[in-house]
């Protein structure tokens, strides 16, 4: 089974239901898209993630009713440095879509989606704790894994694996 090359042209992908829904909703908010290894990824602008999630949750053709996961990837030292990754599942369509938000190191805030899915509570706290990304309007943005007085964010690439000694 050879790997098919990733498709990154929005024009070729615009029939995918999730991307079609996002494009019809707000073309300007969609930054890029990728279809690789049978998985759909859409980059949306940081400011519009909450509205994008809320729109997809209530969409009639591709209802992503379930938030599976929120995490983050640090691309240090390149910029934009962080990518916050959201995995949404459509139980009705048995398919999922990955939304991504790019963040530069000067602007580490992204709107919280706890008002769309309360399940975002813990994972957003985890991303805040381990990567140092702030979620606006999160009801209780505090460290969740590390001790309260911990300095630094361990999952960043410039944090040594063995810690500071």
């Amino acid at each position: 089974m050879a790997l098919a090359p990733a498709i990154t042209d929005i024009e070729l992908l615009k029939d995918h239901p999730a991307l079609a829904a996002l494009l019809a909703w707000n073309r300007a908010a969609v930054e890029a898209a990728k279809f690789d290894r049978d998985e759909m990824t859409v980059w949306v602008s940081a400011g519009s993630i909450r509205e994008a999630c809320s729109m997809l949750r209530d969409h009639k053709d591709f209802p992503c009713n379930f938030l599976e996961d929120i995490t983050c990837v640090d691309w240090y030292p390149s910029e934009p440095r962080f990518e916050v990754v959201y995995h949404l599942l459509s139980m009705a369509k048995k398919d999922r879509v990955r939304l991504k938000v790019k963040l530069t190191s000067g602007q580490l805030t992204v709107p919280s989606i706890t008002s769309v899915w309360p399940s975002a509570n813990f994972p957003e706290r985890e991303v805040f704790d381990l990567f140092g990304i702030r979620f606006e309007d999160h009801p209780y943005l505090r460290r969740i894994m590390m001790p309260e007085d911990w300095e630094g964010h361990p999952l960043r690439k410039d944090f040594p694996v063995e810690g500071y000694r």
């Binding site: 690789d36 290894r37 995490t71 209780y140 894994m145 590390m146």
Partner: protein, 402 residues
């Protein structure tokens, strides 16, 4: 919509009607090191704040410093009750990144061992959950069968708990001679054992009194708060990844997905007990239809060669040396692979930058999300029901904290 717990601990004067009660982290019925800060008014829980992180070991960070094949033993240690599910989820993600095709026999053995893992995990859950509520003998019965499963694991992988038996590209070894016969013996006997557990609990008036109508969860709350697995299905949402988004050959098996509409502790108990029966039926099907053939993919650059080949063929020796000393590179990309673990949806999000070490490994663990459901279950209920609710969502703190 499920309501978020607003963890405001009332300390202002005039609010001394209520009491703050600390439960855990060292408490036998929190199933690990979960700490709950409970605000109670008499016997009624008003607010609850789960406090986690006591077992955080930074496994995700450690994975970034390992070769792809070295990550497999890390995955066992997240959830010590279902190591095979963790192994499977990770190797499936890595195989998807590589574009590897896995031979049918390896897939069927994986399915069989995963269902045994599910039984193993549910047995520990059932035993400890019943023990929490005062039914001592169920615990002894469950651990009797669990011991049999651990012996099977030891036979096939050399380890009782931290199996690391699945490898990227197939299985570590061919299952030993006589292994399938022993599994067959267990599978033939096990349904009568489930009858025994049910005899003790299902119609037991004390058990029903402690569980029926307790810690209710609606389907809307379950979805909004991210519950998966039996916790979700007991609230009436019919969704199981094995059936709805099949992986590793589950589409070849016939099984029912137990669903209940009640959403209480008893419903979760019934769902899991029926899952025990379905799982053992899948094990039986896997044994009956076990295909012949290799248990490793034909990918010499990724899969370690057999010992015999390594000692006799130059090429195999070179590949062996290279895989062990410098790993194998994985094409750049990212995958999100999810499976139905005993507790719900477990997923690995693996990002590759084209080198021999994963750039990022993230685990979406079911307990982490199922724990978020807890406050909406127990707020307004009696303090004694907190223990029943914690037991019923079947959390493992190792995979919550990672």
């Amino acid at each position: 919509m499920g309501n978020l717990t607003l963890p405001v601990i009332a300390t202002e004067p005039g609010q001394d009607r209520t009491m703050i009660l600390n439960m855990g982290p060292q408490h036998p019925s929190t199933h690990g090191v979960l700490r709950l800060v409970l605000e109670i008014d008499g016997e009624t829980v008003i607010r609850v704040l789960p406090d986690i992180g006591y077992l955080h070991t930074g496994i995700e960070k450690t994975c970034e410093a390992k070769f792809y094949q070295q990550v497999v033993p890390m995955t066992d240690r997240i959830d010590y009750l279902c190591p095979m599910s963790n192994n499977l989820c990770y190797v499936l993600a890595a195989e998807k990144l590589l574009g590897l095709e896995i031979p049918p026999k390896a897939q069927w053995v994986r399915v069989m061992l995963n269902e045994l893992t599910r039984i193993n995990s549910h047995l520990v859950w059932l035993g400890t959950h019943a023990l929490d509520m005062g039914a001592m003998s169920v615990f002894l019965y469950c651990f009797r069968e669990r011991e049999d499963i651990l012996r099977l694991f030891e036979m096939v992988s050399g380890q009782r708990m931290m199996t690391s038996y699945f490898r990227i590209g197939g299985l570590a070894l061919e299952p030993p001679i006589g292994f399938f016969e022993r599994v067959k013996k267990f599978a033939d006997r096990f349904p009568t054992n489930v009858d025994e557990y049910e005899n003790l609990l299902t119609n037991n008036p004390i058990w029903k009194g402690r569980t029926k109508g307790v810690a209710r969860l609606t389907a809307e709350d379950a979805i909004a708060l991210g519950a998966t697995g039996p916790t979700l299905r007991a609230s009436g949402v019919d969704f199981d990844l094995r059936r709805d988004m099949p992986y590793t050959g589950y589409e070849n098996f016939k099984f029912k997905v137990p669903v209940s509409q009640d959403g209480d502790v008893y419903a979760r108990y019934m769902c899991r007990v029926q899952e025990l029966r379905e799982s053992i039926s899948i094990v039986g099907q896997a044994l009956a239809g076990m295909p012949e053939g290799p248990v490793k993919a034909d990918a010499p650059k990724v899969v370690l060669p057999d010992r015999e080949q390594m000692k006799t063929q130059m090429e195999a020796l070179i590949y062996h040396f290279k895989i062990v000393s410098e790993g194998f590179t994985v094409p750049a990309g990212e995958v999100y692979q999810s499976i139905e673990s005993p507790r719900g949806e477990m997923a690995y999000y693996v990002v590759s930058d084209g080198t021999a070490k994963p750039y990022r490994v993230h685990m979406r663990t079911p307990s982490y999300f199922n724990l978020q459901v807890l406050p909406s279950m127990i707020v307004g209920r009696l303090l004694a029901d907190v223990v029943a609710a914690i037991g019923s969502i079947d959390i493992v703190l190792g995979e919550i904290d990672r």
